[in-house]
């Protein structure tokens, strides 16, 4: 089991409003499992970045506990959602900083093929992009992570899609189709065209 029992976590959250000393108990309870969960989601990401994003998510909730509504989702799911956004924002900021230094040919996840100036670098922190990313299926979510990580090996994508038993040309075709579909959705959200 990764997370503490729901009632324990919710009780710690509930104390955040009235008790000024309750932050540390909440961090101790929520941060380690959140880091582990985020690391599973963002395989290949730098451990420090994962921990920073998770810590920021937990600190943000301590600061404004009312942002969480228990009627809408379990607390671990909420924290993971916030931490993912933090990580994506961090990733996007670093990417914007680096863009121009990286040859686009080396970037697997280039939304604008052939653009060598980086003007069309994706801004994942934009609300419309966040909306699309949040709506990804679990498989698309993991494919997207591989793309973000610069994975080029078709087998890695095929494994996520569960099609490694198919002929290699079919795997390549299906993987390309899935990647194109993800890129197209993000390009539309970014205001670009599919072509």
């Amino acid at each position: 089991m990764i997370w503490p029992p729901d009632d324990e976590l919710l009780a710690a959250w509930g104390r955040l409003v009235g008790d000024p000393t309750s932050g540390t108990a909440f961090v101790s309870l929520a941060l380690p499992p959140l880091v582990r969960a985020l690391a599973l989601w963002g395989k290949g990401a730098h451990a420090d970045d994962i921990e920073t994003a998770a810590a920021d998510a937990v600190l943000a909730l301590i600061k404004r506990p009312e942002r969480y509504d228990p009627a809408k989702s379990p607390l671990p799911a909420f924290l993971l959602l916030v931490a993912r956004r933090r990580w994506l924002n961090q990733f996007a900021a670093e990417r914007r900083h680096r863009v121009g230094k990286i040859p686009w040919d080396d970037v697997e996840f280039a939304l604008a093929d052939g653009n060598e100036e980086g003007d069309d670098a994706p801004s994942f922190d934009r609300p419309e992009m966040q909306g699309v990313i949040a709506s990804f299926s679990d498989v698309d979510r993991r494919l997207f992570d591989l793309m973000l990580g610069g994975e080029r090996n078709t087998a890695a994508f095929a494994a996520v899609m569960g099609i490694t038993d198919r002929p290699s040309d079919e795997q390549e075709r299906e993987v390309k189709r899935a990647k194109d579909r993800i890129k197209a959705r993000l390009k539309r959200a970014a205001g670009g065209t599919d072509g």
Binding site: P20, T21, T24, V27, S28, L31, V35, A55, L59, I62
Partner: protein, 125 residues
């Protein structure tokens, strides 16, 4: 205590919502390193992390006394040092607010200039 909790507590120093911010300001004002701050507070690395993750005490006299007493009692910290730290945090926040207030006066003319329609659009290149 998990090391990552200690690191998160240090990270909280960037946000005035947390006591970590005030403790950081106090240590900076007094040119203290973390070891000295810990000693002055009568803390251990663990209880310092606990304290950092506390919400900044309220600043009205009654609220300040109640919150500082609670934090000091719960984590075994020196009350007088906590009060000094809270004051240092308040001063830092006040400076920050004052600095932010000054920004529009310098930025507005620049924005106005930027937004002005060019007199000869054809020469923009």
């Amino acid at each position: 205590m998990d090391e990552m909790v200690i690191r998160a507590a240090r990270r909280a120093a960037i946000d005035p919502h947390f006591l970590a911010f005030a403790l950081h300001q106090y240590a900076e004002d007094q040119q203290m390193d973390e070891v000295t701050l810990t000693a002055e507070l009568g803390a251990t690395p663990e209880t310092l992390a606990h304290a950092r993750l506390c919400r900044m005490p309220r600043t009205d006299p009654d609220g300040l006394q109640e919150d500082v007493d609670r934090i000091a009692a719960k984590f075994g910290l020196t009350r007088s040092v906590l009060v000094k730290a809270v004051r240092a945090g308040e001063v830092a926040v006040a400076h920050r607010v004052a600095a932010e207030r000054e920004v529009p006066e310098t930025v507005t003319p620049m924005l106005a200039a930027r937004d002005r329609t060019p007199e000869s659009p054809g020469n923009e290149e």
